[in-house]
């Protein structure tokens, strides 16, 4: 077991999977010599060479499309999008192609690609280096979407994504890269895709989230316990397909549910989670389902007051949790 940063865990997952399977390769902008703009792929080219850690033209649709072609041939590409904000030119390749290849060929062709893309703000990235893109892809059947919150999950989910026989979008949170550290086993483990993870048990409120906000939630839960409020915290881990049973079980446990994500409120994953609870748990609820999410502004401004106003933090989450507990 080693203490490492979230970004190191992502790098280690790639390094291990590339050692285990010669068909695994990484392609993207600046991933080679530079090792990525965040250093996510730093050192990999030295180990595996230029072909397996490939610098590409600045051309997101080609990065995704070439990865898809290589995957159909039998490779296991990991395509890096430098920021999730810039993956929109590749959306046609991801939604029209990757997501539908198995289905449209009646199981003849498959597309085992991983698309890694950093999400999230709070780094003075402005409108186009801060967005969360999950809701753009959420609802497209044929895509799996994961979003780890810890270093342990980052390694285990990425390894599972690489081994998955279907396309997986791996949304890594860029604010977590250096901020989040944790124990990461150096052995070969995976975190299964499609399974949520209970982070904390409690009886007063249930909080359901994924990615960075879980850190705020866990801190708030700790503090609220001093006030006599206990929180049941579920990490979705996989956004698509959602772990329905885990959501239902978590909601029933307390009857009071708060759903939290940084992506915009409208059309976000939280709406679907709320719908599942409304459909399955109506008579178990003791309060209206609540959501705390990014405001419906087109994106996050770069100036500090507005960035702070947009971003979630421990205090905002704590207030929402307390408010629900007192309902």
């Amino acid at each position: 077991m080693a203490m490492m940063e979230y970004i190191d865990a992502i790098r280690l997952a790639m390094k291990e999977e590339m050692a285990l399977d010669e068909n695994v390769f990484v392609l993207g902008e600046d991933v080679g010599v530079k090792g990525g703009v965040f250093t996510t792929t730093k050192g990999l080219q030295e180990v595996y060479g230029e072909d397996r850690v490939m610098d590409t033209p600045l051309s997101e649709s080609a990065i995704a499309g070439v990865a898809i072609g290589a995957a159909m041939y039998g490779m296991k590409p990991i395509a890096e999008m430098q920021y999730s904000d810039f993956m929109l030119p590749a959306t046609n390749q991801i939604i029209s192609e990757a997501a539908k290849i198995r289905y449209r060929s009646n199981n003849d062709w498959t597309c085992p690609i991983v698309v890694r893309a950093p999400i999230g703000g709070g780094i003075f990235g402005g409108l186009y280096h801060s967005q969360c893109m999950e809701s753009v892809f959420f609802g497209t059947a044929g895509l799996k979407i994961v979003a780890p919150y810890s270093a342990y999950d980052a390694k285990g989910l990425l390894k599972a994504a690489v081994r998955d026989p279907d396309p997986v979008l791996f949304f890594e949170n860029k604010k977590c890269y250096k901020l989040i550290k944790g124990d990461v086993p150096e052995d070969d483990y995976v975190v299964p895709i499609g399974k949520a993870n209970l982070l904390r048990e409690g009886d007063d409120i249930t909080v359901i989230s994924y990615s960075l906000p879980l850190h705020f939630i866990m801190q708030a839960a700790e503090e609220l316990e001093q006030e006599g409020i206990t929180s049941h915290v579920l990490d979705l881990r996989t956004i698509q397909p959602l772990d329905r049973q885990a959501i239902i079980d978590a909601a029933r446990r307390t009857g009071k549910v708060l759903i939290v994500h940084e992506d915009n409120l409208t059309g976000g994953v939280g709406g679907e989670v709320a719908a599942i609870i409304a459909e399955e748990c109506l008579f178990d609820l003791d309060a209206p389902i609540r959501r705390l999410a990014g405001p419906d502004s087109p994106a996050m401004p770069i100036n500090p007051p507005q960035e702070k106003a947009y971003m979630l933090n421990k205090d905002k989450v704590k207030a929402a949790m307390r408010d629900l507990a007192l309902f």
Binding site: F25, P57, A62, A70, M75, R104, N107
Partner: protein, 342 residues
């Protein structure tokens, strides 16, 4: 008819390395594609199938290209008019009819996709979609993977000239050029993007675009099957030698409306269409074979009869074949879906 394998160096096809038997085989596939198209149109008009999108007028380019490739090894990424191409690389009339009727046994998609959306892993025909030109980066990815694996093969991709204005064409070409990948990129320029004529689609030549990506671009007469064969053969040799991609612009004319849902005389004249029927590559090649002394009108009649018979059998088979089950709607969204049911 000369024995298979004998190459007559005096003929045009012989100079290209094609035996008389191969030259005739090419014609058979062109005729088969034409007859498939004609039959499909009739079936749509009769209400037996929902939709047909035609490849009439493009058979020479398609079959000529297919014969220049290694049909045992290469990977193919055809577009929706490429009946002549897919027939030449191993798809049967029955397979295509099963697709036209959207039946469960359709090897392309199990009756899920529109006709003309080809795919067969066995035949290395990579599954295609309707958003145009997405297949160009896929072809580049296949070529990249083959190169990484040290396999001696090429990927071959086609699309229309309308599609050549999509970003994926340019992004794919650029990537292929940078990495000198073994991919042949062939535009079947039929001069119409549904109703929009060529002069409203682009102001230059598609083949010239290759210059910007650092590899050769050539324009050929797509109605001349042997000219297309020669160009693709040379492109394949370059690719195998490690010299990278080639862009080929095959000039053809879309003799039919865009699809069975289109009335082309709303945007072009009958005179224009008729003038282009005069250039049709199928009768032109038939005349070439006759002039070469390896084909006769009697043989042609016989071939037409055979093709008609094949289409009849394929139609009857597909018409009576079962549809996919509604219960299988959610099968194969992900690996393993539907396999544990029942």
């Amino acid at each position: 008819m000369k024995a298979e394998g004998t190459i007559d160096q005096q003929t045009r096809h012989g100079k290209l390395g094609l035996s008389d038997a191969q030259a005739i085989e090419i014609y058979r596939y062109m005729m088969m594609a034409r007859k498939f198209d004609e039959r499909s149109l009739l079936l749509q008009r009769a209400g037996k199938i929902n939709f047909h999108v035609s490849g009439v007028g493009q058979e020479a380019a398609q079959v000529g290209a297919a014969f220049a490739l290694d049909r045992e090894k290469d990977y193919f990424l055809p577009y929706y008019r490429d009946y002549g191409f897919v027939l030449s690389v191993g798809m049967t009339a029955r397979d295509l009819m099963l697709s036209a009727f959207a039946k469960a046994e359709d090897p392309n998609s199990g009756g899920r996709q529109m006709p003309g959306h080809f795919g067969s892993k066995r035949l290395r025909i990579v599954t295609g979609s309707s958003p145009v030109t997405t297949q160009v980066p896929h072809a580049v990815g296949v070529a990249l993977a083959a190169k990484m694996k040290g396999e001696e093969l090429v990927s071959f991709v086609t699309f229309g000239e309308g599609s050549s204005n999509q970003g994926d064409f340019h992004e794919g070409c650029n990537f292929a050029g940078v990495h000198k990948l073994p991919v042949i990129i062939m535009c079947e320029n039929n001069q119409y993007a549904i109703s929009v004529p060529i002069h409203k689609q682009l102001s230059g030549k598609i083949s010239d675009r290759a210059l910007g990506y650092g590899f050769p671009g050539i324009r050929v007469d797509g109605n001349d099957v042997l000219e297309v064969y020669a160009a693709v053969k040379e492109a394949r040799e370059r690719a195998i030698r490690g010299e990278g991609p080639t862009l080929i612009e095959a000039m053809v004319y879309r003799l039919s409306p865009h699809s069975t849902s289109d009335n082309d005389l709303a945007y072009r004249t009958k005179e224009e269409v008729d003038a282009n029927w005069e250039k049709d590559g199928v009768p032109k090649y038939k005349q070439y074979l006759i002039d070469s002394g390896i084909w006769t009108e009697e043989q042609d009649q016989q071939l037409q009869k055979e093709c008609t018979e094949i289409m009849k059998e394929a139609t009857e088979y597909a018409d009576t074949a079962p549809y996919p089950s509604a219960d299988d709607l959610l099968k194969h969204v992900f690996a393993g879906d539907g396999e544990d049911v029942q």
